[in-house]
Symmetry: C2
Subunit: 394 residues, 2 copies
Amino acid sequence: MKKTDTEQIRAANRVDIINALRVFGPVARVDIGRITKLSPATVTAITSELAGEGVIEEVNAPTPSTGRGRPRVLIDLNPNHACVLGIKLSINEIRLMLGDLKGNILAESVVTAKTQAHDQASLNEMLVSQAQRFMADYPEQAQRLVSLGIAIQGFVDVHAGDVVWSPALNMRHVNLTRALEEAFNCPVELANDANCIAYAIHKQPDYADCRDFAVIMIGYGVGGGLIVGGELYSGHFGAAAEFGHTKFSHEGPQCACGKRGCIEAYVADYALYRDASAVMDLPATDRRHPSEKQMGRLTQLAVDGDAAASRLFHQAGKALGFGIANILALLSPQKVVVTGPGVRAFEQMQAGIVEGIDDSLIPELIGRADIDPYPWSLDMTGKGIIALALKHFR
Amino acid sequence: MKKTDTEQIRAANRVDIINALRVFGPVARVDIGRITKLSPATVTAITSELAGEGVIEEVNAPTPSTGRGRPRVLIDLNPNHACVLGIKLSINEIRLMLGDLKGNILAESVVTAKTQAHDQASLNEMLVSQAQRFMADYPEQAQRLVSLGIAIQGFVDVHAGDVVWSPALNMRHVNLTRALEEAFNCPVELANDANCIAYAIHKQPDYADCRDFAVIMIGYGVGGGLIVGGELYSGHFGAAAEFGHTKFSHEGPQCACGKRGCIEAYVADYALYRDASAVMDLPATDRRHPSEKQMGRLTQLAVDGDAAASRLFHQAGKALGFGIANILALLSPQKVVVTGPGVRAFEQMQAGIVEGIDDSLIPELIGRADIDPYPWSLDMTGKGIIALALKHFR
DNA sequence: CCACTAAATTTACGTCTCAAACTAAATAGA
DNA sequence: TCTATTTAGTTTGAGACGTAAATTTAGTGG
């Protein structure tokens, strides 16, 4: 509380109601009361305040009309009341996404750019000009822009807004938020891409009451995200959940980070393809980036019962399970969610995962934690960075 | 917020003030205002409320008397206003501790008992009767008893009050809180012993503004505790921070938990002594429990430059550093604190720890995290469980 | 002995939520 | 058709809270 206190209560209750609406779509005021545990009087007070500001609207949709009594009038966020700009920065690609108040992606634009051929100043210049160019196409939304979000692979310090290291850049310790903050005069949120995905999953209605879980993203690399106490956890130095660089072994194969034995070096696409190439005949590939098609073929081999491929995924599963066991021991989470392009092979790894966990932990420590796959879709990072940026909408 | 709201504000501000007093000893009301960011008016209101209840007292100590102006009157918690009973359950030993409102241990009693020769009913019976016998010696305090706390080695579910597994008991999934709650008609807190120590350290004034750190306790076993966002984190299943059973290797020496390659199996007293016995001539010992004296001698060997002993501690340090690296990657904490009887050899392990971390993580991920030793004292578990029990004093 | 200073208290005010009373808008059944 | 019933939502009045500003208290310094 503190400070002018009681006004802070109102502010907190406002965001509670806004969040309830964001998660549970259009609902009646009664339900908001039930969800937020606020009295009907308070719900009325706050919702009419919000309606006055244009944040929410009554939605005259097909009324459900159950039973008797006064029919409930549904209200929902007015998606157009505010918007945010999400930027996903990857190697040689900048993806710009316009998000509305409900977290939907309204528009998208992909720009090819040599992300690695910049110094700090020119990189920020490019980001600002690309962002301005993109927003110029949506002049109405530009006026209602609340905040920006940037998602990037690699290690970030979210508190400082610095990219500590990223495969997308050829330099270290680059601040990416200040220039955009000045150019757009609004807050800019920086986040690791896997953290974005964790946050996006956390915002799914079916995860609404799951307050402590870990997300593992398998793709070109292996990333992670932690939801702790219902919030995305970024740690004191803002770089939490770098699951891919926890270790399976103190020796072991080379990881992209430069060290050896990282979980990533066993489970990421590049690692699987590298290990597969050693034991079977596969088309050559850019070592760092086997294509989705190539990875799909490799997975299909295992599905079809190829022994070497099956063994490969089983091994990767074991390494993954070993890493998950460390998460279970350290954090005792409700569940561990596995997603990313790499879930395509979840079933092929599952037995290995279970074996890896069982080998590492006694049943008492594994407890009732679930290891769940989560279907991958390309826009999850975008959804997540937009949701993170929307935090700034009070 | 929620509910009867504004009363909850008051409650929150009350505990803020109580906590400020608990941490910063006797202070003037002005300082409380500065610490809690409450207005002087509010501080006056709440402190006089608390004084009326006897929770706090004006302390007429040697006034600091700086400069002019009305002299500040120091207030402090009245340590005798309430008390808690802390119970530490270890193998064949029950330690009972009476704690006052300031978290001091007022009295202590150690009972020898065959903790492993019980079923759930008789164990709880014994705990209740021992606790009642102990409190009978302090009839005045017994009337002001607020809550109980139980600390135990092993895996616990703090939410359910269950001991899932413990070396001190010969059964699994034992509830230890219900019987005591009924007998004393007050809340009972169960906690893992290493978590207690983490909480005790967190409550030290010099850790007051350290809100995200990990504690590693090295002793007969290796335990852990996590302070996340300024709170002791116990995870969804209430068993977080079992650092000792995160892994150094998927093969490796046998751990007390039954699995192989746990950090504990390299760093705990029993592991060090076992490994040392293989390469040098040491007096035989109960394999599970080398004595403090024996461990001291082993450490002294390394201090004196014995090559084999030095190598041993260096190796243990490497395993520890490897495990710490996983914590750094996953949680990005401000610091990692190493304590427990095993800190006696911290200096001998330090180079190994640093090596283990450097081998595992690129400098960007290690960041500015400190690895600090914390001097061990026997009553830290007690301090911690008492502090945890005191949470129930609103 | 009085001006000055800093700590603590009192007062006046605005904000908040909630319970309870009330209004609104529908249905079910006589 | 009409009335009792039911559920949703609003209004009102009371109680609690914290703050700013004014005031009191209790010292120091010259």
